[in-house]
C-alpha cells in the first residue's frame, strides 16, 4: 500500500517526466532574411536584376533585399535554397514592399526537379503586388504542377523563382523574411497587407 509520501514522490516523478517532454511547436525555417552581405553572394545574379541590401521596409531584422528590375523577360529572385526538404512545413511565406503606386503581377515558379522541368511539370503561380506592404503565403499543399494533376515532391524542392514577367519599365521591390512555417496561420484576411496565393494553377 502506497503511503502519502510514496504518492507524492510518484507524482513528482510523473511531473518531472511530463516536464521533460518537449511541448514546443517545431520551429519555422527562415530561408532568407537579408541581414548580411553574404546572402547577396548566395543569390543567382542574372542580367536585368540588381540586388542590394536596404534598411528600408524591413519586416524581419533590420535589412531587406532591394530588387531593381529592368525591362526584360523575367527579372527577379533566384535564391540558393538552403533547405530543399519542405515536407515537414505547411507554408512558404515572404514579404514584398512595393514603394510605387502601381500594382504589379508577379510570378512564382517552384521546381521539384534539378533538370529544369517544362512549364507544365512545375508549379507556376501569378499573384498581385499592391502598393505598400504585401505578405504572401503559399500553402504547400497547393504546390501542384501546372499541366498535370501532380503534387510537387516537397521532399525534393530544387529551386524557386520569384519574378516580374515582362516589366515594361524599371520596377523596385523590397523582399524580406522568406520562410517556411510549420503551421498555417488561421483567419488571414485578404487585404493588401495579407494576400494568399492558394492554388497552383497555370497562370
Amino acid at each position: 500500500m502506497m503511503t502519502a509520501l510514496g504518492k507524492l514522490l510518484a507524482g513528482l516523478v510523473l511531473l518531472a517526466v511530463l516536464a521533460s517532454c518537449d511541448h514546443r511547436a517545431p520551429e519555422d525555417a527562415l530561408l532568407l532574411d537579408f541581414e548580411s552581405d553574404a546572402e547577396l553572394d548566395s543569390l543567382s545574379w542574372t542580367c536585368r536584376t540588381l540586388y542590394s541590401l536596404s534598411r528600408e521596409h524591413a519586416t524581419h531584422g533590420s535589412q531587406t533585399l532591394k530588387m531593381e528590375l529592368f525591362p526584360s523577360e523575367a527579372p527577379g529572385l533566384t535564391p540558393h535554397l538552403a533547405i530543399t526538404d519542405w515536407s515537414s512545413f505547411a507554408e512558404l511565406s515572404f514579404d514584398i514592399y512595393n514603394p510605387s503606386q502601381r500594382q504589379y503581377r508577379m510570378g512564382l515558379r517552384i521546381d521539384d526537379r534539378r533538370d529544369y522541368p517544362d512549364f507544365g511539370d512545375r508549379y507556376n503561380k501569378g499573384f498581385e503586388i499592391r502598393p505598400g506592404s504585401n505578405h504572401i503565403t503559399v500553402p504547400l499543399y497547393s504546390l501542384v504542377a501546372s499541366g498535370a494533376n501532380r503534387h510537387l515532391q516537397l521532399g525534393h524542392i530544387a529551386r524557386m523563382f520569384l519574378f516580374l514577367p515582362f516589366p515594361r519599365e524599371r520596377a523596385t521591390l523590397y523582399v524580406d523574411a522568406v520562410k517556411l512555417t510549420r503551421s498555417a496561420e488561421q483567419g488571414r484576411i485578404l487585404t493588401p497587407d495579407h494576400q494568399t496565393a492558394e492554388k497552383g494553377g497555370g497562370e
Binding site: S52, T78, R109
Partner: protein
C-alpha cells in the same frame, strides 16, 4: 643491374615521367603559339578577307603573369581588326580583378566581342562586373569588350555586314528559357557565332553558312583517347576536342585555349592565339 630494386628500364621510365611532368607543368603551359587557321567561307571572306581576326579562349586568369603578358604582346603585335573571346576568363570561384585588367588591355580596330563561360559564373555576383560597374546597372568603363548574352549584333563593315551571335555559357538557364535554335533564323551571309561550349554546335539545326567559335575543352590539356574523356563526363572532348569541324555549310572551330583548369598541365596542347584567314 638494379639499384634499390629498380632496374635501368624502370629508372628510365621514371626519369621520362619526371621530365614530362616538369615540361607539362613548367614549360608548355607558357609556350603560347600563334595558330593560323584558314576557313573556307565565301561570305566571311568577302566581309573579313582583309581583316586580322583573332580568337582567344579559356584564359583562366588568376593573376597577370608571364603567360597573360605574352598573350597581350602577341595580340598587340598582330594589330587585330577584331578579337573574339569565347569564355572562361577566371579560375573557378577565383578573383575577377586580374581578368578584368587583362580585358582592359585588349584592343582591336573594329572591336572585341565575347561570351562568358561557366567559370565566369562561378561567383554569380561577381560575374556582373564583366558588363557593369560594381553595385550599379551602369555599363562598365573598365574595358571595351562587347559581351553578347544570347543576342546578336550586326556590324556594318565596308565590304558588307557581319552578324555576331553570342550564346551565353551560364549553366543556370533563365526562368523561362526560349530554347530552340540559338541563332536567329533570319541571319544569313557573314555569320559568326560565339559559344563557350562546342556542344552548342549541335543546337543549330538548319544547314546555313556560318562559323561557330568555341573553346572549353582545352584540347584535353593532354592527349588521351576521346572515350576516356566521355567516360569521365566530358562528351565535348570526345566530339569536339580542338580544331576545325564541318557539317554541311556550318563550321565549328574549337580553340584549345590559353589557361588550364583542374590540373595546371599541358602536354602537346600548347596555349594558342588563333588567327583566322577567310578564303572564298
Amino acid at each position: 643491374m638494379t639499384i634499390k630494386g629498380i632496374n635501368a628500364w624502370q629508372r628510365g621510365i621514371i626519369a621520362l615521367l619526371i621530365l614530362l611532368a616538369v615540361y607539362g607543368v613548367l614549360i608548355e603551359p607558357y609556350r603560347v603559339q600563334v595558330h593560323d587557321v584558314p576557313v573556307k567561307d565565301p561570305s566571311l571572306a568577302k566581309v573579313l578577307g582583309q581583316a586580322v581576326v583573332v580568337q582567344l579562349s579559356d584564359l583562366h586568369i588568376s593573376s597577370m603573369g608571364p603567360r597573360e603578358r605574352r598573350v597581350l604582346k602577341i595580340v598587340g603585335d598582330l594589330r587585330p581588326d577584331i578579337v573574339f573571346l569565347t569564355g572562361d576568363y577566371v579560375a573557378w570561384k577565383g578573383a575577377y580583378g586580374p581578368a578584368l585588367d587583362f580585358l582592359s588591355q585588349l584592343h582591336a580596330k573594329i572591336g572585341v566581342w565575347a561570351v562568358m563561360g561557366e567559370y565566369d559564373y562561378s561567383r554569380s555576383r561577381k560575374s556582373c562586373l564583366f558588363c557593369h560597374e560594381e553595385g550599379s546597372a551602369s555599363l562598365t568603363r573598365r574595358h571595351q569588350v562587347h559581351f553578347l548574352k544570347d543576342r546578336t549584333e550586326k556590324i556594318r563593315l565596308p565590304q558588307g555586314d557581319l552578324s555576331i551571335t553570342g550564346i551565353d555559357g551560364d549553366e543556370e538557364p533563365p526562368a523561362y528559357p526560349s530554347g530552340g535554335d540559338p541563332v536567329p533564323p533570319g541571319e544569313r551571309g557573314a555569320v559568326i557565332v560565339l559559344a563557350h561550349c562546342p556542344l552548342n554546335f549541335d543546337r543549330i539545326t538548319d544547314d546555313r553558312s556560318l562559323l561557330m567559335l568555341a573553346g572549353d575543352t582545352h584540347g584535353g590539356q593532354i592527349p588521351l583517347p576521346g572515350l576516356l574523356f566521355r567516360k569521365a563526363g566530358y562528351e565535348k572532348n570526345d566530339l569536339y576536342s580542338q580544331g576545325l569541324y564541318e557539317r554541311g555549310q556550318r563550321r565549328l572551330f574549337v580553340s584549345r585555349g590559353i589557361g588550364t583548369s583542374h590540373l595546371p598541365v599541358r602536354l602537346l596542347r600548347p596555349p594558342e592565339v588563333v588567327v583566322f584567314h577567310f578564303v572564298p
